[in-house]
């Protein structure tokens, strides 16, 4: 079963993402910021990382860069959760090594279909 790492400093967003994806049959682990996510990623391997961009301690862009530096995460799909008004953020994410993005606001259906795109 595919395991997803969901990173967002907003508890309500995390809850929504976790419950939506769990309901769709995925295993989900959550982290409140980039630093916590990096720690988790080092001890467990995930099939997909969903990360918010604006977070304290370590933001999503830095997290992406750090993850790509880990051998286990060279090819892992990493998606940033950005708001549409921050168009440059999408490219920033890509430049840091992200696979793609998901634009906020999104509803549960959009989330599931995007994850399915990537994980199959």
């Amino acid at each position: 079963m595919a395991t997803i790492l969901a990173v967002d400093d907003s508890a309500s967003m995390r809850q929504m993402v976790v419950m939506t994806l769990k309901g769709a049959g995925y295993d989900v682990v959550e982290a409140v910021d980039g630093a916590a996510a990096l720690q988790l990623a080092k001890s467990k391997s995930f099939n997909l990382v969903l990360t918010d961009v604006n977070m304290p301690k370590m933001d999503g862009i830095t997290l992406t860069r750090e993850l790509r530096a880990l051998p286990a995460y060279k090819f892992t799909p990493i998606l940033t959760l950005t708001t549409e008004s921050a168009a440059d953020k999408k490219q920033e994410g890509k430049a840091a090594g992200a696979t793609g993005w998901l634009v906020k606001p999104f509803n549960p259906e959009q989330l599931i279909s995007t994850v399915k795109r990537v994980l199959g």
Partner: protein
């Protein structure tokens, strides 16, 4: 399956309020002259988060409003706009508006758009004036240069991933699959770039594909499939009607993006500058905590029952008995530690209660035209969550009083040789089993003459009597007493110091005041650390055991029959040094039979409630102990003069006395005279 997002609403509201609180603190910091970019980041992140959540969960008004705030903050962050006091004021107001919105959403009431609409207009104007357009509003437009017309025949696509394609985490197979879902896809792999096996780096992509996609498919749909990988591949997408152009570097898809700047300069997020509490935490519902606290309360009772039994056990040999006693002693230690630990779960730092004051002082002092500096100390002092919630209003009242009546206007202060800026100090610390909170100011202090005059006016003080210091200061807590010349809307109508004291008393605490004319005043509040446990004095009344809260007891003494005076038609009073205090025979009061129906040989427990003293006649003083407060109302109803019940070590129920209600009951029938100052206290 559809997920109902409304279940996340409450969490969103709570965290948005937290964000707003952080934003407010940060704004006040900026106002104080701070220039720290990280502070601006906090404000930005807060707005960004609220906007994201608002949009996700369908709160359009919140999302739209916050979008403006976020745009403004982004400009400030990128130094396109300079922070001015006006901007800070506008942002502070925005915080207020958002609080109201979230509050309305939480309560399920209508959002009042008047205030937000006005502010929204001002923000929009401000942003427009700056000359730049607003950032993309929540309906990001996609510019497609190629035609969007649906082509009947289909498309021809050349897909050439760059060498490092896999390192983006993208999988060409995924894209091909998506295209295949759109229509009929013919795939021809181009392996011309594939090196020999030995030279091949398995992490690189050497493959390319020529695709023909048949069907009624729009260009946008194809672009969507390649949306993530535009910069990582060469793409040529052409309608089937036109022949393939010679491979060129620029693709129509790539023209869409205005700029492909590499990762722009990013400010280094400073580690450790986290406004949230350090360390991990999880949210737990209050019910779960209360359940655990109740269970631990039960454990304490059971453990003390066991201890009593253990003390009475006979018939075991010495070793067994000693082991039993040791075990019970260990159990008591463990239980006490567990209880203390569990009580701490509900404890939070008082900073939560103090947090509203910087803003309050800031707004109020400018409204009153006074210069005030607020100093907070001991913010990490912890107290029970429920106590903290209830102490907020009394504290606000005291601080408002200090601002309104205590601190003088700047000119007045200057003329007295005081610094223009007045000081208000909120301080908290632990003392014994209590938390002590002090509200002090360096203002004018309490004006004794004015207090005395007002008291005489209200009939609280007889003419010609000069009350002592203690009595004067105590007068301000009397109901219906207010020395404000006019009831200013700052200190509020009808909320007097008597309510403050009553609220604090309800929490099991008390409040005292000390003051120096011309130098300032200090209000000292003492509160128990938790509501569910009480330090009690056990008393025997007849064959019943009652518990008197230690915090209400002034003193206990042996009854001297000669000091009892009957006051005609009013009951009995006891001469205690210079005072006459009413007494209440609990045996009679509670209808308990007792061998000794006279007052001599009994004990008098003097309690204080509602500002008055009362002597309770009891048969005996038993020990002092901490008791767990149990409700009578759960299965029965509230009982007059009884605040609750507890279970003693022997398993029996003991009722807990309510000093305030007892005092009222005693005085309800009569007035009593204080012969020392010869005044009359009117019946409550």
């Amino acid at each position: 399956m559809t997920v109902d997002v409304s279940q996340f609403h409450q969490v969103f509201f709570e965290e948005s309020l937290e964000h707003l609180a952080n934003m407010e603190s940060a704004l006040l910091q900026l106002e104080g002259g701070g220039n720290d970019p990280e502070v601006v980041n906090v404000i930005f992140r807060g707005a960004h988060s609220i906007k994201g959540g608002g949009a996700t969960f369908g709160f359009q008004a919140v999302a739209e409003f916050t979008h403006l705030v976020e745009t403004l903050l982004e400009r400030i962050r990128s130094a396109k706009t300079v922070i001015t006091p006006d901007i800070i004021a506008m942002l502070l107001e925005s915080v207020d508006v958002l609080r109201e919105m979230i509050g309305a959403l939480q309560a399920g009431t209508e959002i009042d758009v008047t205030r937000s609409a006005a502010l929204q207009q001002r923000l929009t104007n401000m942003l427009a004036q700056a000359g730049e357009g607003l950032a993309d509003s929540p309906a990001g437009a996609q510019v497609v240069s190629a035609s969007e017309s649906v082509d009947d025949a289909g498309w021809r696509i050349q897909f050439r991933p760059h060498r490092h394609f896999f390192r983006t985490g993208n999988d060409p197979y995924r894209i091909l699959r998506e295209l295949a879902d759109l229509g009929h896809l013919e795939v021809k792999a181009d392996i011309s770039a594939l090196p020999s096996f030995l030279d091949m780096d398995p992490e690189e992509c050497y493959l390319a594909w020529n695709l023909v996609l048949n069907g009624k498919i729009s260009r946008a749909e194809i672009d969507e499939a390649f949306a993530w990988v535009e910069g990582d591949c060469d793409l040529i997408i052409e309608p089937l009607a036109t022949p393939i152009q010679a491979a060129s570097t620029k693709t129509t898809a790539e023209v869409r993006r205005a700029d492909e700047k590499p990762a722009s300069l990013m400010a280094e997020r400073r580690a450790g500058q986290d406004r949230r509490a350090e360390g991990e935490s999880i949210r737990v519902s209050i019910e779960k905590i209360d359940t655990i606290i109740n269970m631990v309360g039960e454990l304490v009772i059971t453990q003390s029952m066991l201890s009593e039994v253990g003390a009475m056990v006979h018939g075991l040999n010495d070793t067994a008995l000693e082991n039993l006693r040791d075990g019970l002693a260990q159990l008591e230690r463990n239980t006490r530690e567990l209880q203390e630990g569990v009580m701490r779960i509900r404890m939070l730092p008082i900073s939560f209660a103090f947090s509203r004051f910087p803003r309050l002082v800031h707004d109020l002092s400018s409204k009153l035209g006074k210069k005030v500096e607020l100093k907070l100390s001991g913010e990490q002092t912890e107290l029970d969550k429920t106590v903290m919630e209830k102490i907020g209003d009394p504290l606000v009242h005291l601080v408002r009083n200090a601002l309104d009546h205590g601190i003088e206007a700047p000119e007045v202060r200057r003329s007295q040789g005081k610094p223009e800026v007045g000081q208000i100090h909120l301080e908290a610390c632990h003392q014994g089993g209590n938390i002590v909170i002090e509200v002090s100011d360096d203002g004018a202090g309490l004006n004794r003459e004015r207090i005395a005059a007002k008291a005489r006016e209200r009939g609280l003080l007889a003419e010609g009597v000069e009350p002592d210091e203690e009595r004067i200061l105590d007068l301000i807590f009397d109901p219906g007493f207010s020395t404000a010349e006019s009831v200013s809307d700052v200190s509020g109508r009808g909320v007097g110091m008597d309510v403050v004291r009553r609220n604090i008393r309800d929490l099991g605490g008390n409040v005292e005041v000390s003051s120096q004319p011309g130098q300032g005043s200090r209000f000292t509040i003492r509160l128990p650390l938790t509501l569910a446990i009480l330090d009690g004095q056990l008393v025997r009344v007849g064959d019943q055991v009652y518990v008197a809260p230690l915090v209400s007891i002034v003193e206990s003494l042996q009854v001297r029959a000669e000091r009892i005076n009957a006051v005609a038609g009013r009951g009995e009073v006891y001469r205690l040094r210079e005072e006459y205090i009413p007494i209440m025979d609990l045996r009679r009061m509670f209808g308990i039979d007792t061998a000794n129906s006279t007052l001599s040989g009994s004990l008098l427990v003097v309690v204080e409630g509602e500002g008055k003293k009362l002597g309770l006649v009891v048969d005996d003083l038993l020990g002092q102990q901490q008791v767990v407060i149990k409700s009578l109302e759960t299965n029965f109803r509230p009982v007059a003069c009884i605040s609750g019940a507890t279970i003693l070590g022997d398993g029996t129920v003991a009722l807990i006395l309510d000093a305030g209600q007892l005092v009222n009951a005693a005085c309800g029938n009569a007035a009593y005279e204080d012969s020392a100052s010869d005044k009359v206290t009117a019946a409550a």
